[in-house]
């Protein structure tokens, strides 16, 4: 599953229903009536709360002191919170979002926040990026899309069941850019009888459609059968999507994301570093470049792509058919029999000369997408490559962020 590229981050104020004793102190204290309750729960309305913290010291339990970094469009609504038996866990937020300067987060809440981290990537798009549309369709006003294609893109003999799914919007507008994501609302109710949360997926197709000139887009969806720790887990939305048949209808929200966007100026180079379904935005950007190959204005494409085996590489076949002078492909396979384990960061170091050359060109943008764990490894590799070239990484890293040239999307 791909992580979202949200437009706006909200530090959402929540009350832990397992600790709260429903004493009404917070509701009584709130100066702007952002807190309400029913017979089950006391909850904070995300549309009203301004994080003034007036309710926090008077709360006798500490239940009031819960905060979640959320994509604003995904914020838990009052009705949803009223139905809670317990707080939902932290949702992994894409780095591009977490790094946003969330203006709506009051300084006082920093007390409650986890230790601040310096964002690894940029919080602005490249200067030549097209202007994205975001949040056109929300939970309250979702768009209905039609499935026009759904097929597996990994070998049937592999554990990794990754599907390429094409959704069509008919006559209704759903303008997107490469690097953006959309939200899918899986049908049905969870164990508590409430609608499932939306899940977000990056586009795998370029802005002019999976099929050029058509109002459609594609997603790369891995069927989730286990969690990050390897325990059995049934992914509600990924299984729903992977099992869809042609002509099925899907509820869609979005688009999301306004920084993980590709440059549009001539001779812009892309370094793309991804693993598994993190290849989706890379496929979208690559396809964008491929469709304008005849203009002769393309810069260089350098791809580092990691998976366990070749057969688990989504889009392996079509990728390998691309001309070598169009894209420089580097595959890192961690579990190919008879070969030593290799990760994307190893390949980056091996290709140090090319990477350095591209990094030195201000027309180069770097995109990283995949599991959160790869972030540190990739940054280390980029630093090593830079330092070996006699350059100061911290200065370059700063410039890459400031100029919107280094983007992470990890989950």
């Amino acid at each position: 599953m791909n992580a979202p590229l949200p437009a706006e981050v909200l530090k959402q104020h929540l009350i832990d229903p397992e600790i709260c004793i429903r004493c009404n102190t917070c509701e009584e204290t709130c100066p702007i009536k952002a807190i309400t309750h029913d017979s089950n729960n006391y909850v904070v309305d995300p549309d009203i709360c301004n994080g003034c913290m007036a309710c926090v010291p008077p709360c006798p339990t500490g239940a009031i002191d819960n905060w979640r970094l959320m994509v604003r469009a995904e914020a838990y609504g009052v009705q949803e919170q009223l139905g809670w038996e317990e707080l939902p866990g932290e949702k992994a937020l894409p780095e591009t979002a977490a790094a946003l300067p969330a203006d709506d987060v009051p300084a006082a809440t920093d007390l409650a926040a986890p230790a601040p981290f310096s964002a690894p990537g940029a919080t602005v798009p490249p200067w030549s990026a097209a202007h994205p549309y975001v949040n056109l369709y929300t939970h309250k006003t979702p768009m209905t899309a039609t499935v026009v294609g759904n097929y597996r893109v990994t070998g049937v003999d592999t554990e990794s069941d990754i599907h390429h799914i094409v959704l069509d919007f008919g006559e209704l507008p759903f303008p997107v850019l490469e690097g953006q994501s959309i939200g899918i609302l899986p049908p049905g109710l969870d164990a508590q009888g409430r609608p499932h949360h939306a899940r977000q997926y990056s586009l795998a197709s370029p802005r002019d459609g999976e099929r050029a000139g058509y109002n459609n887009l594609s997603l790369t969806v891995k069927r989730v059968t286990e969690d990050h720790a390897g325990a059995a887990a049934h992914g509600v939305c990924s299984n729903y999507l992977c099992d869809l048949a042609k002509n099925d209808k899907v509820q869609v929200i979005g688009p999301f994301g306004h920084t993980f966007l590709m440059p549009n100026h001539p001779r812009a180079n892309l370094i793309m570093i991804c693993t598994g379904t993190g290849s989706a935005p890379m496929r979208a950007m690559t396809e964008r470049y491929r469709r304008r190959i005849d203009t002769g204005e393309n810069g260089r494409l350098l791809l580092f792509f990691g998976a366990r085996t070749e057969r688990e590489l989504p889009y392996f076949g079509p990728l390998m058919k691309l001309p070598r002078d169009f894209i420089d492909i580097n595959l890192a396979l961690s579990r190919e029999t008879g070969q030593p384990k290799r990760y994307v960061q190893d390949l980056i170091r091996e290709r140090a000369a090319s990477v350095r050359e591209l990094l030195a060109d201000r027309n180069t943008c770097i995109y990283v997408c995949g599991l959160k764990g790869m972030e540190v490894g990739v940054l280390d590799a980029l630093r090593d490559v830079t330092v070996q070239g006699g350059q100061d990484w911290s200065i370059l890293h700063d410039a890459l962020r400031r100029e919107g040239r280094l983007h992470f999307e990890t989950y």
């Binding site: 397992e18 600790i19 004793i21 429903r22 004493c23 009404n24 102190t25 009584e28 204290t29 100066p31 017979s39 913290m53 007036a54 309710c55 010291p57 008077p58 709360c59 006798p60 339990t61 500490g62 002191d65 038996e85 007390l111 409650a112």
Partner: protein, 475 residues
């Protein structure tokens, strides 16, 4: 009005220094209070540094200031919620008029009685809990006990201020008497029955803070609606502190239940004897404690039909819980309420004038609130997969006050003969053996972050401190 003058002997936000007579009267009462605290306050605790919250202002950002203090040095003060100047009487015969800033002569006796009855419960609970510190299951719990004690002390101050300020010599005499009565004293007991019961162990303490302090909440809520503005503002601020007391009760029982269920799952047993042998409190015993504290507490609301309650409401002295959120005529002259009565050996509901049934109305509000929390306890049991659920007994179970007093009834609501009651009451109310067993578990745990075997640690500490913080320095 909101600033607190800490150079005064008595911190306050009522401009005490502007009324010399009153200030002197309170300064005269203060040493008696401190002496009472030394004699009847938490046993052996006077040298401890306790991590307590102290109100430094009544504004939300300033009323909870935390630090280690010795309890006799706690700054008990007089704090009223801010006056808004706009308040109108919003129920009863005087509805629509300005609230009273002084006591109207015709209501003087009733108001004094209401304030004395409320005030008497505050030192009473400190007396009831004075030995618990010797058997606290952790520093965290000891600190919570002491926090409750100092705040009950402050609530006494709040009522004494009203008595001194608005009731002259009578008030001063009543204020002195508040320090002279003593919980459980056969010659000079506290006014209300539940406040003369013992709080012998921590299970009883948590039940008391869950049920009996919740009675306090509902009484304070009803008084916070009062047409007598100083009483309304005083009780409004007291409510903010009262919430912590109910938290201690609700989370305390919840942690006891959690620990019991953990052990039941480890041992794969639901046999109470095996559970007890493992050193935790079996769920049926918890149910019996619950039955006792619930039934004793709902008696505190008074007789189910009461002309006093009607007078207090009609004259605007005491409103209903959430009076201002209700949408009726706030007069209630033409309304009725259904109350339980026994006729020919059977329980039936009868319709009575609402005004006379206001004690029952408040009792029913309390019951709803209590039941909701018990539902949260049951979720803890349910989460652990144990097939047991706690429940409140029937409203007529074990009652001593009102129409239902003395009726022999099972927790399920079945009317019993005296012999049936005698044969079965040990299943429903804590027996001497139950209390002896619970008492046998009570041993003091003083190491930070360590907890007695019979109770689970809390999920978080106080004021964002870790659970293993040194909440009490024993010196």
């Amino acid at each position: 009005m909101s600033g607190i003058n800490y150079t005064d002997k008595i911190p306050n936000n009522v401009n005490l220094s502007g009324d010399r007579t009153l200030q002197r009267a309170l300064e005269h009462w203060q040493p008696n209070y401190l002496q009472w605290w030394q004699d009847m306050g938490p046993d052996g605790s006077h040298g401890f540094d306790v991590y307590l919250r102290t109100a430094v202002s009544v504004q939300p950002d300033g009323w909870a200031h935390f630090d280690h203090v010795k309890m006799p040095d706690y700054r008990w003060g007089i704090f009223l919620a801010p006056q808004d100047g706009q308040r109108k009487i919003h129920f009863g015969e005087n509805m629509g008029r300005d609230v009273w800033q002084d006591v109207p002569g015709e209501h003087r006796a009733n108001l004094r009685r209401i304030i004395v009855t409320q005030g008497d419960t505050e030192p009473a609970s400190i007396e009831q809990q004075r030995h618990l510190g010797l058997t606290a299951p952790s520093q965290y719990d000891l600190r919570n006990l002491f926090q409750i004690n100092v705040e009950e002390g402050r609530h006494l101050w709040a009522m004494v201020y009203l008595l001194h300020r608005y009731f002259g010599r009578d008030g001063r005499e009543e204020a002195d008497a508040l320090l002279q009565r003593s919980s459980g004293d056969s010659d000079n007991p506290r006014i209300l029955g539940a406040f003369n019961e013992k709080t012998p162990d921590w299970l009883a303490f948590y039940m008391f803070t869950y049920f009996t302090d919740r009675d306090g909440k509902f009484q304070l809520c009803a008084l916070a609606e009062s047409s007598f503005d100083p009483l309304a503002r005083t009780t409004k601020f007291m409510l903010t502190e009262e919430a912590h007391h109910m938290f201690v009760g609700e989370s305390g029982i919840s942690r006891v239940i959690q620990r019991t269920c953990e052990v039941m799952n480890q041992l794969k047993t639901d046999d109470p004897d095996s559970v007890r042998a493992a050193g935790v409190i079996d769920l049926p015993t918890i149910q019996r404690y619950l039955n006792f504290h619930y039934s004793v507490t709902i008696d505190l609301f008074g007789a189910d039909q009461s002309s006093n309650a009607a007078i207090f409401y009609g004259s605007g002295l005491k409103g209903r819980y959430e009076e201002s959120k209700r949408t009726d005529d706030h007069q209630l002259k033409n309304d009725t309420y259904r109350v339980l009565a026994v006729e020919n050996g059977k329980l039936r509901e009868t319709e009575v004038p609402m005004l006379n049934a206001l004690n029952e109305v408040l009792r029913d509000d309390f019951i709803r609130d209590s039941v909701a929390g018990i539902g949260r306890w049951n979720k803890v049991i349910e989460k652990s997969g144990v097939p047991f659920r706690l429940q409140v007994p029937h409203k007529a179970f074990n009652r001593q006050i009102g129409t239902l007093a003395g009726i022999r009834m099972s927790p399920e609501g079945e009317i019993l003969s005296e012999s049936q009651w005698q044969a079965n009451s040990h299943k429903w109310l804590p027996t001497p053996e139950d209390r002896a067993f619970v008492a046998s578990l009570m041993g003091r745990v003083t190491e930070p972050g360590k907890f007695a075997n019979w109770i689970a640690p809390p999920v978080m500490g106080i004021n964002r401190q870790p659970v293993n913080f040194d909440y009490v320095r024993f010196n």
